[in-house]
């Protein structure tokens, strides 16, 4: 069984949303930015909504039916698996290797990977230089000989950012992305890499416990992902997204779940109806 394209989903009458509790995209309490957006997408298609909980390690295979292993910007298919959903919508970062196995919709949220340290760390945040490459280099230089949390097969995969070349002691965890910040505070490592949405929430939740050192990646974007064969479903999502951007639904949900996102990423949200 493959991920359904539009006709299959309409015949089946259900849109299966693959998600993992992460930041305010999928809160784990039945709501979240991506949960509400996908529910509205199901409504747009005229089908029922079904949430399918998955894991970062299996989310791609649950959509595509292919067990994959990422190698930097490349991906290798190493097996087959049952398909469990029709759309990944989870604050899913657009990464080169992912683009080779899935199709992304128009981006729905901006992101970047930052290096975060515990407040008591002796490492001081970088002084911004206004040039992202310099800032990344300055940040990576601070990682040498320090333990850094990361997570494979996610946007925090250390291979994506060549963390091994920094001399950092990279620790790959197996838990959830939203457990990275608590793990850092608990002392599992001195540093972690986090994407911006998660880092902002961590700063709100634990003021004075964490500090952002600097960027380890260029600006990124997040978007829902679809199986390669679900072209009509992807096109339908892009139409749906355009509609929500025009009628104000999209920004209403952004402000609901990420109230500071607009002022933090003004360029990304510029011109959208509030």
């Amino acid at each position: 069984m493959t991920a359904g394209d539009l006709d299959d989903i309409k015949t089946r009458g259900v849109l299966r949303h693959l998600g993992i509790p992460y930041a305010n995209f999928v809160t784990g309490s039945g709501d979240g930015f991506e949960v509400e957006m996908t529910q509205k997408f199901a409504e747009f298609l005229g089908v029922k909504y079904q949430f399918v909980k998955t894991e970062w390690g299996t989310v791609v295979q649950d959509l595509t039916g292919k067990v994959v292993k990422s190698k930097g910007s490349d991906v290798e298919v190493i097996g087959e698996a049952p398909v469990k959903g029709d759309i990944i919508a989870n604050g899913f970062t657009v990464l080169p290797w992912r683009e080779k196995i899935v199709n992304f919709s128009v981006p729905t949220f901006p992101s970047q990977i930052w290096l975060i340290a515990r407040a008591d760390s002796k490492v001081r945040p970088i002084k911004p230089s206004l040039k992202i490459e310099k800032d990344i280099a300055a940040t990576k230089a601070l990682m040498k000989n320090r333990s850094v949390l990361s997570m494979e097969n996610t946007c925090l995969d250390p291979r994506l950012y060549n963390l091994s070349e920094t001399g950092a002691k990279v620790i790959c965890t197996k838990g959830q992305l939203n457990e990275m910040a608590p793990a850092l505070i608990k002392g599992d490592a001195e540093m972690t890499i986090l994407d911006v949405p998660d880092a902002l929430i961590a700063l709100q939740k634990w003021p004075g416990k964490l500090k952002i050192i600097g960027p380890v990646s260029d600006k990124q974007k997040m978007a829902p992902a679809f199986a390669k064969e679900s072209r009509e479903l992807l096109a339908a999502y892009n139409r749906f997204l355009e509609k929500t951007r025009k009628d104000g639904t999209y920004m209403r949900l952004i402000n609901k779940y990420y109230p500071t996102a607009y002022s933090f990423f003004p360029d990304f949200f510029k011109g959208l109806k509030q």
Binding site: A119, I126, Q204
Partner: protein
């Protein structure tokens, strides 16, 4: 010369006038004193009200201090400075803290309301380096300048400070600015500054609260040393000339009397009461004009009082005169009214009586009509009878068509009822009953008989007790009587049906009992057949073997006898004598006959057992394709004993297909028919059983040459308990059960009979399913 008496009179008058003058003076003093007290009370009230409003405003502003402390404890503010102290940059993380801080302050600004609009028009956080980190305000507000903010910032004292932002003069945009220093790790880190509209404060706490206060007689104004914070439109149409209010800096605490000028440049004397609002540059001042409270001059009072006195006196005289005339007229009017009322009372009583009588009559009429009662009144000595319309109408007559004589009534009473009526009437007239009451029929005009309930009593007797007059009613009870008759008929019918049902149930019970009995007999027979069947098996088997043995022995004996010639003659003679003595020759010849008969008897028993089993078929209770001829044969075997002495049995069993039936039940039907046929024959006769096919049916007839059945009885022979047999010989249920069983098997049973010749029963059964 003035007489002494007159002088005394004048003196008295003078004294009276003097006393009056003194009294007037006393009144004037009292009046003056009252005016003073009222004036002082008004001033005190003004002062009190002003103080009260000032207190409310002070309390409100004190609560705002708490607001600023709340704001300074915002977690977002702490987070920003924590992150700042950790060295985070605006680009990487600190910007988010700034955004959080702005969002938090804006939410606070929108949440705090004064009435329905936000209390704080603007909230600003400026850091220690005079960078404006957050500036949240309503849309359209101008950007605040840092130079302006500096006026409000104090780094030293950790208290809420109040300032006035005057804005454009008399624009109504003046605002109260509150600032509060923010400390991070006990060091000054910035200031929180909030703006409150003074016009809003004025409307909420001064004007709104003083909606009754800001009248034409007084106003309250909010101001500092520089300006009043309200526009002319705010103060309404007060008598206080707003345009000529004193400079605010001239208003001091407590009361002041001042002169203001109105638009026509007329001087207005005004009392003011000012209360400064503690801790703020604000002051609340109330103004009240003094003119209304000035005392009138004593002469004015005397003249006014005298004129009023004269007016009162003149008015009193006029009133007294008018009052006397009025009283006279009123007295006359009262008399006339009393008379009129008395007449009206009489008229009302008369009218009420008339109405009552009319109503009473109407009620009586209605009651009689409603009760369908005809009235009669009989003058006994003269025989004259009066009837009413209803009496006549009841019998279909007009009143004019009836003679007013008792004979007219007598002619209408049914002759069959007359004797009874006269007896009852006679008893009552003799005084032996309290009421005359009969139910009898009367002839209507159309000639029909109508049942009447006739009631009456003697209403007048002479001195000797002889009846003079009798009155009574007629009531049409025809419907009731007919209903009673119908009811009686229904009761009779019901009783009959109950009797029939009882009979039916009794018959049904007996029927069931008989069926149970037959079933029991069948089960018993089946059981006996089963028990006999097994020993019969080995008896027959042994007989067969015994026959073979006997034949072998006979053959051996015959061979042996042929060899006797070789024996000596004496020996041959002795054996021959013994053979004769033992009758061996007969034994040998008879033994095979005995065995053959035994074999035949055993076979017969076996056949009877098989037939008995076949007849009862206790294990077969369902309908199935059945060989009717076999049923006939097995049944005949069972009842042969009943038949063989009275009749010659003639079987004409045709080539018929199987029939669809319950064989056990059909066997019982055939048994009943055969036994009945045997019983119908006196002496010796014949019974003929025929089977044949007619279309999709198989027909079985059982005909006897018996005495036959009488035609009037033939229709009853299938009835339960109907029997022509002598008492004790028949239950009367055999044919009934047969009828029921044939019907249950989808067949028909009928009978033809002729007296003296015999009877034919015909049973028709459907061909089995496999043969259709």
């Amino acid at each position: 010369m003035i007489p002494v008496k007159r002088l005394r009179l004048r003196g008295a008058l003078f004294l009276i006038n003097l006393l009056l003058l003194g009294y007037l003076g006393f009144l004037l003093l009292n009046l003056y004193s009252s005016h003073e007290r009222i004036h002082n009370a008004a001033v005190e009230q003004l002062q009190h009200n002003t103080e009260k409003r000032a207190l409310v405003l002070e309390s409100f502003l004190l609560d705002r201090t708490e607001d600023l402390i709340d704001l300074s404890e915002k977690q977002q503010l702490l987070a920003y400075f924590e992150n700042l102290s950790l060295g985070m940059s605006l680009e990487y993380g600190l910007g988010a803290s700034v955004n959080d801080l702005r969002a938090s302050l804006d939410r606070y600004r929108l949440r705090k309301k004064l009435g329905s609009s936000p209390l704080y028009k603007r909230i600003v956080f400026v850091d220690a380096e005079n960078n404006v980190l957050a500036d949240v305000h309503a849309d359209g507000s101008n950007k605040v300048k840092i130079a302006t903010l500096r006026r409000y910032i104090s780094r030293r004292s950790q208290i809420v400070r109040y300032h006035i932002d005057h804005g454009e003069p008399r624009s109504g945009q003046a605002q109260l600015v509150l600032s509060y220093p923010y400390l991070f790790k006990e060091r000054y880190a910035g200031s929180l500054i909030v703006w409150i509209s003074l016009a809003d404060l004025y409307d909420r706490f001064v004007r709104a609260d003083g909606a009754k206060n800001n009248t034409r007689d007084s106003i309250s104004l909010l101001h500092d040393n520089e300006a009043y914070f309200c526009t002319a439109s705010n103060v309404g149409h007060s008598r206080i000339p707003f345009g000529s209010l004193p400079e605010p800096s001239l208003l001091k605490r407590d009361r002041q009397v001042m002169t203001l000028h109105d638009e026509d440049n007329r001087a207005v004397s005004v009392l003011s009461a000012s209360i400064p609002l503690t801790g703020t540059p604000l002051m609340l001042t109330s103004f009240i004009p003094l003119e209304r409270n000035q005392l009138a001059s004593p002469l004015q009072l005397v003249l006014t009082t005298g004129a009023i006195g004269l007016l009162i006196l003149a008015g009193t005289v006029v009133l007294i005169r008018t009052d006397m005339n009025s009283r006279l007229i009123e007295t006359r009017l009262d008399e006339a009214r009393i008379r009129e009322e008395a007449m009206a009372d009489q008229n009302r009583m008369l009218y009420a009586t008339t109405v009552e009588l009319k109503e009473s009559k109407e009620k009586l009429t209605l009651a009689l009509e409603g009760a369908d009662l005809g009235l009669w009144s009989w003058h006994i000595p003269s025989g004259k009878v009066d009837f009413n319309e209803q009496w006549a109408a009841m019998l279909g007559y007009q009143l004019s068509e009836l003679d007013s004589d008792v004979s007219a009534w007598e002619s209408l009473v049914h002759p069959d009822d007359m004797l009874h009526v006269q007896q009852v009437l006679k008893l009552h007239l003799a005084g032996n009953s309290a009421l005359y009451e009969t139910e009898h029929r009367c002839r209507t005009k159309s000639g029909e008989w109508l049942w009447i309930l006739d009631r009456g009593r003697v209403v007048e007797r002479d001195s000797a007790g002889a009846p003079i007059r009798m009155a009574g009613t007629h009531l049409d009870i025809n419907d009731r009587k007919l209903a009673e008759e119908r009811l009686l008929q229904l009761n009779n019918d019901l009783e009959q049906r109950v009797q029939e049902e009882v009979t039916k149930n009794r018959q049904k019970d007996a029927f069931m009992l008989q069926q149970d009995k037959m079933a029991s007999i069948g089960q018993l027979a089946a059981g006996v057949a089963h028990e006999i069947n097994n020993p019969m098996g080995f008896i027959i088997s042994n007989l067969g073997t015994l026959t073979k043995y006997t034949q072998a022995l006979t053959t051996y004996i015959e061979s042996y006898e042929q060899q006797l010639t070789v024996l000596p003659v004496e020996e041959q003679q002795r054996l021959e004598a013994l053979k004769k003595q033992l009758d061996v020759g007969f034994i040998v010849s008879d033994i095979s006959a005995l065995l053959s008969e035994s074999q035949e008897g055993a076979d017969r028993v076996k056949q009877i057992v098989l037939d008995l089993k076949d007849f009862t078929r206790a294990d077969e209770v369902t309908v199935k394709d059945t060989d009717l001829n076999q049923c006939v044969r097995s049944t005949i075997n069972i009842v042969r004993n009943e038949l063989k002495y009275v009749a010659q049995l003639d079987l004409q069993l045709g080539d018929i297909p199987p029939v669809l039936c319950n064989p056990q039940q059909i066997n019982q039907v055939i048994t009943n028919l055969l036994v009945n046929a045997a019983h119908a024959i006196d002496g010796h006769g014949s019974i003929t059983v025929v089977t044949r096919q007619e279309g999709q049916k198989v027909v079985l007839t059982v005909a006897d040459t018996g005495k036959g059945i009488e035609p009037e009885l033939i229709k009853r022979i299938f009835e339960p308990f109907f029997t022509t047999k002598p008492v004790g010989q028949g239950t009367g249920l055999g044919l009934t059960i047969s009828y029921d069983m044939v019907k249950r098997n989808g067949g028909e049973i009928s009978v033809e009979s002729e007296l003296g010749k015999g009877t034919i029963f015909t049973v028709t059964l459907p061909v089995g399913e496999g043969e259709r």
